[in-house]
């Protein structure tokens, strides 16, 4: 039992949001009542009359071509309505970006169904029938013959000389050169990337024999500073290889989807991380106009990056429904979710790091390869380099990387994509260096961590980019104090009986926000303020939280505010996707801009009706009133005047810089009250990142190899706190997602057949409530970011890397540096390595 197993209900109570009425305060989100009573409808909870059910035929092989297909027997079954194959998929549409550039659809990208499956579990065809049993029986009656093709599930295997290619034309993505510009014509767009083959030589593979990551040629590299001089001046140089696991996102709600067509429009019910941006994705996949798509997604059962704009598989029920002329429900099972539901790519990394006497990192040579799956390249490889460069501020750095294709399920961004892997590869080296140099673990991180407008990555047009701000040193100091770091380090003995205690600290950071999105609100004639929210409702609560920043500006009590979300037909503004921790930053900016637009309009209306100048009026307490007392009017009255005045006041005219989707929504809402719509045009000097200092203590039983996490603290530098409870949920929730990578989650494959063995929760188990301390701690600095009007940055990703790495560091504090060179660290890793005195797991093989 932990020392502080108190009965206290709220161990994490602390007051935030000084000087604000709404920002930084706890409240009850408007979606919670439906959730708590079971009334909240997720995609699979809808039922349409005459609804058919769909089942998928999945590839049993990791790479094959369908040679022969006979569906006649299946189609002849009573109750079977339609069978959909890849030939019947529409060609995917091009992407028209918001600045008008066309990105051509890549014919080699993933599609919903495929006659040349590139991984075990890839959908080949789909059956719609009156019920699931019939659909499943029909799948059994389909006669299908495959021609097996060469495959690779391990990225190093395909890089070997003569190694198998995961795709018929190669194993990496290659960017063909952009054709030269023609005088007078607009500059040509770069052609879509294509597939090429990369093989390393036997000589380049030599290092693999000693368990070190071989470093052959890579298509990408960058550097800054004088790395050779750095290594020359270093008092300690470490050269280490580390491997991170492949982990499925495993949202508790699978990517089920219900679809039907009405009046030429397709209706889709599915989970998504963005209501606003999933609509154009669906339009592209179905190759129809965005005006023909209606998405309903009021509740999403988790995403973590796997449902950024939902999943391409949702076009299967949409197309079946069109053919069958009936609604079609596609329920995705847990195993199917493992195959088509996305995962984080494993990164194999090798770092050569030069330290000065006081622990400063003066040279860093980073080399990474990823296990990407067969389709579009994920950004994890390049991102890992930029995050490491920001978080540890090496004086000189060289980075190389390659994204390697394999016949394993497609990857996508997962909370802190590339960030987790970069941090987890780097942190054990920093911990080891501190031990070798006789430095405190907090001190060595303090001397390296970013501060203020910290630079990161290579120079772009002669200048290195930099962060908007970083107060991580303060978070580290305050965290160390709250965690009683020095006391824990000094505590003796470390070992009692078979139990050894260890403490670990980790730095962590990730992108914390984007800019340039729109907000939209209407002040109704009854005085209520309605915020239109295009944000996905995946559990972070930013869908509602961000609008508190707008209500604060308008001085309207929250009880008088409504938020509309979760249905693309309800006139939503152009909104960021909730991925990469953008939302809190991007959408509080948009909410703030929109509220400022509303305020200006209120002041103008008051001046028109009551005399004087707009500046003579203030907006507060649900009124616009003359400064120093005197004439004024309630917001309700101002809304009525706005309707009378029309034009810019009730939304009949809107600002030209708004996105087309916001303009269309504003036009639909025009005349309902005072309409405000604004684009976030606020300046921003630097790129936005959020930071976490993570602390953990573990207790390892060296006789069984089992270990417990005794205590955990995450101290956040995420700008102003908007909603403490939802922030705390993100800080600790995403920390635990990271911890899963330390304590047990991974994929296991049968390499001979290219078949996955870890398809269910119990085979790659996310942490349970008993895997983490019962009184996890979090806190936030609550220092506003100077480059955004509300001061808030995003939080979803930053805690993840620190969650994992602080546990790994605590383990090596307890057990020494010779136990593990890859994550996760399981009991058998510990037992066998302790006995042997060196790491016993295969250092490089994938999926062990």
């Amino acid at each position: 039992m932990p020392e502080n197993d108190a009965k206290s209900v709220t161990p994490n109570a602390r007051v935030y949001g000084a000087g604000h009425k709404l920002i930084g305060k706890n409240y009850v989100t408007a979606d919670l009542y439906a959730k708590v009573t079971g009334q909240a409808k997720y995609a699979e909870d809808f039922h349409a009359e005459g609804m058919l059910f769909c089942k998928l035929l999945l590839s049993p092989l990791p790479h094959a071509r369908v040679k022969h297909l006979d569906v006649r027997q299946a189609l002849a079954m009573p109750g079977v309505k339609v069978i959909l194959t890849a030939d019947e998929l529409p060609p995917p549409g091009d992407t028209l970006t918001d600045n008008g550039t066309v990105i051509r659809a890549n014919p080699k990208s993933e599609r919903a169904l495929n006659m040349e499956p590139l991984y075990q579990g890839e959908p080949i065809l789909a059956v719609a029938a009156v019920d699931e049993l019939t659909a499943a029986e029909a799948i059994e009656k389909i006669r299908i013959e495959f021609e097996p093709l060469p495959f690779a599930v391990d990225p190093l295997e395909t890089l070997r000389p003569g190694g198998p290619n995961p795709r018929t034309d190669g194993n990496i993505w290659v960017q063909p050169p952009t054709p030269p510009a023609v005088a007078g014509a607009p500059p040509p767009a770069p052609p879509p990337p294509t597939i090429g083959a990369l093989k390393w030589t036997e000589a380049e593979f030599a290092d693999a024999k000693s368990g070190r990551l071989p470093m052959g040629k890579t298509p990408d590299e960058w550097s800054y500073g004088d790395i050779d001089a750095g290594f020359k001046n270093a008092v300690l140089v470490l050269d280490e290889t580390f491997v991170t696991p492949d982990t499925s996102h495993q949202p508790l709600e699978t990517r089920s989807a219900l679809s039907y067509w009405q009046n030429g429009k397709v209706y889709v019910h599915t989970g998504t991380q963005s209501t606003a941006q999933t609509v154009p994705a669906i339009a592209r996949w179905l190759n129809i106009d965005v005006s023909k798509v209606v998405l309903i997604s009021e509740y999403t059962g988790g995403g973590f990056g796997s449902k950024v704009t939902a999943g391409v598989s949702l076009i299967i029920p949409a197309l079946l429904s069109k053919r069958a002329n009936a609604p079609v429900m596609m329920r995705i099972s847990r195993e199917e979710e493992t195959f088509i539901g996305r995962a984080r790519p494993s990164l194999l990394g090798r770092m050569k790091v030069g330290f000065s006497k006081d622990g400063r990192i003066i040279a860093l040579d980073m080399f990474v390869i990823s296990n990407n799956g067969p389709y579009d390249a994920n950004g994890d490889v390049p991102t890992s380099g930029r995050i490491v460069s920001l978080l540890y501020q090496p004086e000189a750095m060289h980075w190389r990387g390659v994204t390697v294709l394999t016949n394993t399920p497609p990857r996508s961004a997962q909370s802190s994509p590339g960030g987790l892997q970069g941090i987890v590869i780097m942190e054990p080296i920093v911990a080891k260096a501190a031990r070798k140099l006789g430095l405190d673990q907090v001190a060595i991180r303090r001397i390296n961590c970013p501060e203020g407008k910290a630079p990161f990555g290579p120079a772009v047009q002669g200048k290195r980019p930099y962060a908007t701000s970083a107060f991580l040193k303060e978070a580290l100091d305050r965290g160390a104090e709250q965690f009683k770091w020095s006391e824990r380090v000094a505590r003796t003995p470390k070992r009692v009986g078979t139990k050894v205690r260890g403490v670990g600290v980790s730095l962590s950071c990730y992108v914390g926000g984007t800019v340039g999105f729109d907000g939209l609100l209407v002040i109704k004639p009854d005085g209520r303020v309605n915020f239109q929210s295009g944000i996905g409702n995946l559990g972070t609560e930013s869908v509602i939280d961000v609008h508190r920043a707008g209500a604060e500006v308008l001085g309207v009590p929250w009880e008088k505010c409504d938020v509309t979300w979760g249905d693309s037909s309800k006139n939503l503004p152009f909104t960021c996707v909730s991925g990469g921790s953008q939302t809190t930053h991007a959408m509080t900016r948009a909410a703030y801009a929109t509220a400022m637009d509303a305020r200006k309009k209120l002041q103008e209306i008051a001046a028109k009706k009551l005399g004087g100048q707009p500046d003579d009026y203030i907006v507060a307490n649900e009124r616009v009133s003359r400064k120093g007392g005197g004439a004024g009017m309630a917001l309700a009255q101002a809304a009525n005047y706005a309707i009378q005045l029309g034009g810019i006041y009730d939304g009949h005219e809107v600002s030209a810089d708004l996105n087309g989707r916001t303009k269309a929504s504003a036009a639909a809402l025009a005349g309902q009250g005072l309409l405000a719509a604004a684009k976030d045009n606020y300046p921003r000097d630097g790129a936005t990142f959020s930071y976490i200092a993570s602390f953990a203590e573990v207790e390892v039983d060296v006789e069984t190899g089992k270990y417990n996490i005794v205590d955990f603290l995450a101290y956040a530098d995420v700008g102003s706190v908007i909603h403490p409870r939802s922030l705390g949920g993100q800080v600790l929730g995403r920390s635990v997602l990271g911890i899963g990578h330390a304590i047990g989650q991974k994929w296991v494959y049968d390499p001979h057949y290219g078949a996955m063995l870890s398809t269910r929760f119990y085979q790659s188990k996310p942490p349970t409530i008993l895997d983490v301390p019962v009184d996890m701690q979090w806190a936030a600095l609550d220092i506003p970011d100077p480059e955004t009007p509300v001061g808030a940055r995003g939080v979803g990703e930053p805690p993840v890397g620190g969650g994992c790495a602080s546990i790994l560091n605590a383990l090596s504090d307890a057990l020494g540096d010779e136990i593990f060179r890859r994550a996760p660290v399981n009991a058998d890793t510990i037992l066998t390595s302790l006995e042997a005195g060196h790491p016993m797991q295969h250092p490089l093989m994938a999926h062990i």
């Binding site: 108190a6 919670l32 009542y33 409808k41 509740y299 409530i769």
Partner: protein
Amino acid sequence: MTENDDAKMIEPPQSGLTRRDLIKGVILGGVAISSSSYLFRASTLAAQTSRGTGDRLLTINVNGQQRRADVMKQETLAWTLRHKLGLTGTKLGCDRAECGSCTVLIDGVPHYSCSVLTHTVRDKKVLTIEGLASPDGALHPVQQGVIDEQGFQCAFCMPGFIMAAVAFLKANPDPTRMELAQGLSGNLCRCQDYDKILTAMMRGAENMRSASRA
């Protein structure tokens, strides 16, 4: 204003009302679904199946009501609840007894309804998340605990956790956080919001205790 006052002011969910008038034909909740099967009544095949393979018209006691449904031999309680009785508050996260999102109470004891055959509950009382609040809409103290503490994130796991907590707290009204964590350990939250969940459930325990004193 205290948090509790705040809580009472929240609007009922926006889902129902708004959706209904937009999309005709999509049935929203239990209310709109008749107690008979849509799956097997709707098709010719269904008619054959129900004659041939022993679909049986059963009456089961769910949330204090006698409900009738055509049930297959191999049908799980989760399927009957969700697809025959329209009680979709009970979620399926794995359908194989791994995650607990389908947890319901059978005669007061938590069970994974994805792994219970409907035929076996004929003489028992089933309680789902929809039956927890009193008919006048007053929330169960554990539900209120979630509101008080903004427990859970996506909430897909929430019905299962709440049902497990209700049963556990009945037997253990004054647990420590560790004891309560043990009681909830059959439920998985992939948003990994365990700390806030535990806090909300502890608040629920406190609410239950003060309700029983009152």
